[in-house]
């Protein structure tokens, strides 16, 4: 039995007290109190598992990832990374975590190399992992290392975000739409790299995504988040069964679950 790298127990979270969200009410768009963005999310990820978090825009996927990365404190429930509570043992939990930040959060006035150096230092590393250096070469990122981040394209920034998330042999890799903007070749390199880490049980991966091909071909587990709750989970065998049923089966299932099928 492999170790549990992430355990989320009945997590509730919100941004502010009186935040409002636009919803269709009686044919008109009105602002209604948002309340909790997450309403009792519970899930578990083991080492070697690629977990995909699915859901329409605005249901709380990124909020959940921010809670896991201790960027947002849950209002209730707890999150443990490798057994360390994000609330009470924040530093220990963060040491086990590799979080892929949003490309726009990268510092524009540092070079890619400086970003790697600062991030590695912030994680308390003594050297940059050789396989991260290898991955940067495989992604053809080495040529950008000494250029300022604000001169990077979206895809190049995304590569740097992935490299930063993989620094320091994290037991849990958390990625938010990490394949957006990556060219197909680079995306394949990243997917294969993650698969290698997972095959050796070096980490678990939590990926929030809209790319159903990743779910069908790479995920070991997937969950659908709707209105702050996990309403459906797919195991490895269920994903394989969906894959067998045809190219658009998962898309149809999601459309049915989210109520957006015509």
């Amino acid at each position: 039995m492999t170790a549990i790298v992430l355990e989320i127990r009945d997590v509730h979270a919100r941004y502010g007290k009186s935040d409002r969200v636009s919803r269709a009410v009686g044919g008109a768009i009105r602002g209604i109190p948002r309340g909790d963005v997450l309403r009792g999310v519970t899930l578990q990820i083991r080492a070697g598992q690629w977990f995909c978090l699915l859901g329409p825009n605005g249901v709380g996927k990124s909020t959940l990832l921010h809670c896991v990365a201790a960027r947002l404190a849950p209002t209730a429930g707890d999150i443990a990374v490798c057994g360390h509570s994000v609330r009470t043992s924040t530093i220990e939990a963060k040491r086990k975590l590799g979080f892929g930040c949003a490309p726009e959060q990268l510092p524009g006035l540092l070079t890619g190399r400086q970003c790697l150096e600062v991030y590695a230092n912030a994680k308390g590393l003594e050297r940059i992992d050789p396989d991260v250096v290898e991955l940067s070469e495989a992604l053809k990122f080495s040529g950008y290392l000494d250029r300022f981040v604000d001169t990077y394209s979206l895809g190049t920034r995304q590569k740097l975000c992935v490299l930063l998330a993989l620094l320091g042999e994290p037991a849990l890799v958390v990625l938010d739409e990490a394949f957006n903007g990556l060219d197909p070749g680079s995306a394949l390199v990243v997917k294969r790299h993650l698969q290698q880490r997972l095959a050796a049980n070096r980490c678990g991966v939590l990926l929030a995504t809209h790319s159903l091909d990743i779910v069908e071909h790479y995920a070991d587990k997937a969950a659908l988040l709707l209105d702050g709750r996990i309403v459906r989970e797919w195991s490895d065998s269920e994903i394989a069964a969906v894959r067998e049923q045809g190219a658009n089966r998962l898309e149809e299932l999601l459309a049915m679950e989210t109520g957006s099928s015509s």
Binding site: S18, L109, D146
Partner: protein, 371 residues
């Protein structure tokens, strides 16, 4: 009317939604507003004896005042026009069939509105200063008229001069010294300490520096010796750089904390890494500024006092900015309250603001370390 001008309609809706969103955080907005008003009131009441001579001096040197304000209006409107022109070529409505005159109107409104708001704020401030300081309304009104005239004139020239400007597509790093290419990558936070310095260089592009240089050169009195003239210009440039460096530390603290929040980096290491080089520059350049003040004829003790006061302001602002950013909170309210407290202490006991600010800085840093 707005229905016929889609760009203006989009801007208006964005502005309205901003206020609607602020209403959802009414408590915080009211608290921030009250803190700002309170701090301003304390400052106004503390400094009320200075207002009559300040207003009289502005009226005496009205030509210089008008030149400075006109230069500012010229710069702001020119910059806003260039920005607006670039923005509307990349706007989400760029492909919509918006008429040329409607686009020009939107650029005009967007370019002039910030300056108009600032002019209004200055007039309100002058009126309050006049009322609190007991200055007669005619003098305040005359000063307002001169300022308004200079603003209008500067804005018109700024608008006209920016008409053929190219799109401003320069990257932020364009004026930052490129680090040497290396082959080794070693974990280090050294780059964080260089970030505020790089930020000031990025801001110090020629189009921004020219305004400061223009004001500095206008501040040189006719008939001054070459040494005094150069010292005055150097003082202005130094002052601009030091103020920019302080602003850069605050901005960098905010951006770096957002970027590094998911790492186990301790606050002390974060704060030291972000601020150490900027603080060293502040100390060295403030010492240089004190020397220049002495060369310009200021008494040594006064020059030392001003230098010490500036370093105190830097220390307090950096401590609050770093600690609050690391805790994920906006630093504005604490900064306003802390500076108001320091100003009150300074008004009562000359020189006591320095230990008071140091104590407040230590308190804020301690709060940051507890995060």
């Amino acid at each position: 009317m707005l229905q016929r001008h889609p760009l203006l309609l989009a801007e208006w809706l964005a502005l309205r939604n901003l206020f609607t969103r602020a209403r959802a955080h009414a408590t915080k907005v009211v608290a921030a507003g009250l803190a700002t008003i309170g701090a301003s009131a304390v400052l106004l009441l503390t400094l009320r004896w200075q207002f009559p001579p300040a207003i009289a001096a502005l009226l005496t040197y009205r030509v210089l005042t008008m030149i400075v304000i006109g230069a500012y209006a010229f710069s702001v409107v020119g910059k806003q026009r260039r920005r607006a022109e670039v923005r509307y070529t990349q706007f989400w409505l760029a492909a919509a069939p918006v008429r040329q005159y409607s686009r020009a109107l939107a650029i005009l409104v967007v370019s002039l509105l910030p300056l108009a708001a600032q002019l209004l704020a200055v007039c309100v401030l002058l009126a309050v200063m006049g009322a609190v300081g007991g200055v007669d309304a005619a003098s305040v009104g005359e000063l307002m008229l001169w300022i308004a005239a200079a603003t209008v004139l500067g804005a018109a020239v700024g608008w006209w001069s920016a008409r053929r400007s190219r799109a401003d597509a320069m990257e932020g790093s364009r004026y930052v010294r490129q680090p040497k290419a290396r082959t080794n990558t070693v974990p280090s936070v050294a780059a964080l300490s260089g970030w505020p310095v790089a930020q000031v260089r990025a801001w110090g592009r020629p189009e921004n520096l020219r305004v400061l240089l223009m004001i500095a050169m206008l501040a040189v009195q006719a008939g001054s010796s070459a040494l005094v003239g150069l010292s005055v210009v150097a003082m202005w440039l130094l002052g601009g750089y030091l103020a920019g460096l302080l602003a850069a530390v605050l901005q960098t603290a905010n951006q770096a904390s957002r970027w590094l929040r998911s790492t186990p980096l301790p606050f002390a290491q974060f704060a030291w890494a972000v601020s150490r080089r900027a603080l060293a520059y502040q100390v060295v350049l403030t010492t240089l500024a004190v020397g220049l003040m002495v060369i310009l004829g200021a008494p040594v003790l006064s020059a030392l006092y001003i230098g010490g006061l500036w370093l105190t302001i830097v220390l307090l602002a950096c401590s609050i900015g770093l600690a609050e950013s690391y805790r994920g909170r906006p630093p504005l309210i604490r900064m306003a309250l802390s500076f108001a407290a320091v100003a009150v202490v300074e008004a009562r006991e000359y020189g006591w603001s320095i230990p008071m600010a140091a104590a407040l800085a230590a308190w804020h840093l301690r709060a940051g370390a507890k995060t």
